[in-house]
């Protein structure tokens, strides 16, 4: 058992290492931080620019291999991912701040998604082929077919016209806090409303869970063990909640774990459109400013999150499904 875990861990570390190195090389080879300084400037002090870039370890005059060596040794020896260009803050502190912001958004968003998704999915399956089932199906199809950036744009346009036409002031459309003054809990929750709504009704949100829950539920409803449970005297209701729902929930738990892990850097559109300074928005910022250290760090973080959520979903499976418990 211990050997199994150790082997898997080593394999994961190698995977993350290779993936991060690949992206570092790719970003270094294609992105051009020099143009950030040269952009629209006539007189430039090239020597000063190169010195500045060198301090970030992204100077194109230094060979790629020596830059890479410097970068990887700093990570292995000091856990230092370098500094973020052009801000100058260390990548790790910037990332810590942004993970906090993203987590606030995602915790509420993904929990709401799974609750709403499971409830509508179960309802839909229990009322199969009735009008309510058809309505839920069509609505979730439309939501699954709507790109998140479009849904966010719709939500933003709606909120802005509400503010202009109806004077609704409690629905801010940008940032996670007011730009001036203190940020109270009420402020924070008001800023949370629109991005959360977009996450919940976006393609990776409740509609996704509804579809899967519905089909998992239909599979269970037609299964022999549910009929047996009723035959031995359980009421339909009791058999359904005690045996049926629990079985149908197993795949959801694994989806949930996976969704959460990928969303942590996956809320790119929602965060960008609502000006949240989270991990998702950072993806766009780092690419636009040729922040190679930042890009590599995001890659490492995303890779680790995917692997962790994979392990988490395995654990969920083992807890919920007695058939796969460690033998």
């Amino acid at each position: 058992m211990l050997r199994f875990v150790a082997r898997r861990l080593v394999n994961y570390i190698i995977l993350v290492f290779v993936a991060t190195s690949l992206v570092y090389m790719l970003a270094s080879a294609t992105l051009d931080p020099l143009s950030y300084y040269l952009h629209g400037q006539k007189q430039v002090n090239l020597r000063a620019i190169h010195a500045s870039l060198r301090s970030y370890n992204i100077d194109p005059d230094t060979s790629l291999w020596s830059r890479y060596w410097h970068w990887i040794t700093r990570i292995v020896l000091h856990g230092d991912f370098g500094r973020s260009f052009p801000g100058g803050d260390t990548v790790t502190s910037e990332m810590g701040r942004r993970i906090g912001v993203s987590l606030r958004l995602l915790l509420v968003g993904s929990v709401l998604s799974v609750i709403i998704g499971v409830l509508t999915g179960v309802y839909s399956a229990l009322h199969q082929y009735k009008p309510s089932d058809h309505i839920i199906s069509v609505v979730s199809f439309v939501l699954l077919s709507t790109p998140v950036f479009l849904l966010a744009t719709f939500a933003k346009a709606g909120a802005i016209s509400l503010r202009q036409d109806a004077g609704v002031s409690w629905l801010p459309t940008a940032n996670e806090c007011p730009s001036t003054g203190a940020c109270s809990l009420i402020d924070r929750s008001q800023h949370l409303i629109l991005p959360t709504v977009v996450l919940v009704f976006g393609a990776a949100g409740a509609a996704f869970f509804t579809r899967y829950q519905r089909s998992a539920m239909l599979d269970v409803l037609g299964s022999d063990f549910l009929r047996t449970a009723q035959a031995k005297g359980l009421s339909r209701r009791k058999a359904f909640y005690k045996h049926g729902l629990r079985t149908a929930l197993i795949p959801m738990a694994t989806f949930f774990a996976f969704q959460f892990g990928t969303l942590l850097v996956g809320a790119v559109f929602t965060e960008t459109i609502f000006n949240w300074n989270g991990m998702g928005a950072w993806v766009i910022t780092t690419i636009n400013s040729a922040d190679i250290n930042g890009i590599a760090a995001i890659t490492a973080f995303a890779a680790v999150m995917i692997l962790i959520s994979g392990v988490l979903s395995d654990i969920f499976y083992a807890i919920l499904d007695p058939r796969v418990r460690m033998s």
Binding site: L15, T30, L31, V138, S145, T153, V283, I287
Partner: protein, 333 residues
């Protein structure tokens, strides 16, 4: 398909009766269920082929048929619609610079540069359809090749390929595509399409691998093996045709997934590059510098077109998945 047309000498080593699964009928593959019989009985008691059965089931799905109808209308609109407009994709109407609302000769208004929004939207839809179809087929093709090779050869090949699959899955596709595609110069469009496919095949490859694993142990595969049929031929003639329906469904699902990925990247300017337009670039440009309530027709029409496109493909894909479902007992009547 019989083994007779095989150029290799047919030596029956196994001693068993060889029962190859029909290639044309397309046996059906599900994780647990691979059916050898390719026929089913229709209402009148006649035997019908599996292909016909699937088609018949599909025709009964109202939503899938509606999706197909939508898709045909959208394709016609995208390719023929611009012909009826007096404006071209690049033509600028100097009387309507800065964005005019819908009306007059501009059916859906103009954008800030004086381009006709209708013609631009249709041009973007053409691109999205093109990218979606090509990348979807390509992605399924890669998945079939990698998955079947890993499953059939097993051992070191399997380990190496699956390690590669795992690595591709943890590399952030969005980030890599966003870094590369703005730097593509000529012919960038086709390369971008190939890149999209390159990051989409991994999950399907795993499913194909699992199915190949179980098919490999079947009698008709061992028979072919003993007769000296080369491995690639066994894979293309005996293994892949047995999961034809899975692959077809996968292509359909990939079309909508690719369109979403392409428009998402293009929205940020990381996808389709000028002078080409995509539905994503149109929506991105209309909303990047102004609030979405300002001249909303510039993003609303491309946006609705995009939703309609993806929705139509999803309807068809869902119907198709139901129709080829091995566990379904419906005979299509």
């Amino acid at each position: 398909m019989t083994l007779k047309d095989d150029p290799t000498p047919a030596i029956d080593n196994s001693g068993d009766v060889i029962t190859p699964v029909s290639g044309q009928g397309g046996g059906l593959a599900d994780i647990e269920l691979i059916r050898e019989e390719v026929t089913s009985r229709d209402g009148g008691g006649r035997n019908i082929s599996r292909g016909k059965l699937v088609l018949r089931r599909l025709l009964r799905k109202k939503l899938a048929m509606f999706g197909l109808f939508m898709l045909v209308v959208e394709i016609l609109l995208a390719f023929l619609g611009p012909l009826f407009s007096k404006w071209g994709v690049t033509s600028i109407d100097f009387n309507n610079l800065g964005g005019s609302p819908p009306g007059g000769s501009h059916f859906w208004g103009t954008d800030r540069n004086g381009h006709d929004v209708f013609v631009q939207t249709m041009s973007g839809a053409q691109k999205s359809l093109f990218v979606g179809l090509i990348a979807a087929v390509l992605s399924t093709f890669i998945a079939a090749v990698v998955g079947s090779a890993a499953g059939y050869f097993g051992k070191a090949v399997d380990n190496a390929l699956m390690w590669f699959v795992n690595m591709m899955m943890i590399v952030p596709a969005f980030l890599i595509l966003a870094i590369i595609s703005p730097r593509l110069k000529d012919n960038s469009f086709l390369i971008f399409t190939i890149l999209l496919a390159a990051f989409q095949w991994m999950l399907t490859a795993r499913v194909v691998r699992g199915l190949t694993y179980s098919l490999r142990e079947r009698e008709f595969v061992s028979a072919a093996k003993f007769m000296g049929v080369p491995a690639w031929r066994i894979i293309t003639r005996h293994i892949l045709p047995n999961m034809a329906s899975l692959l077809i469904v996968d292509v359909t699902v990939n079309v909508s997934a690719t369109i979403l990925a392409e428009t998402g990247l293009s929205y940020f300017g990381f996808g389709v590059q000028p002078p080409n337009v995509s539905l994503g670039t149109l929506i991105g440009e209309a909303t990047s510098s102004a609030a979405p309530t300002y001249q909303s027709w510039q993003w609303l029409y491309p946006g609705l077109m995009l939703i309609a496109l993806v929705l139509a493909v999803n309807f068809v894909g869902d119907g198709l998945r139901d129709a080829v479902d091995a566990t379904s007992t419906s005979d299509g009547d």
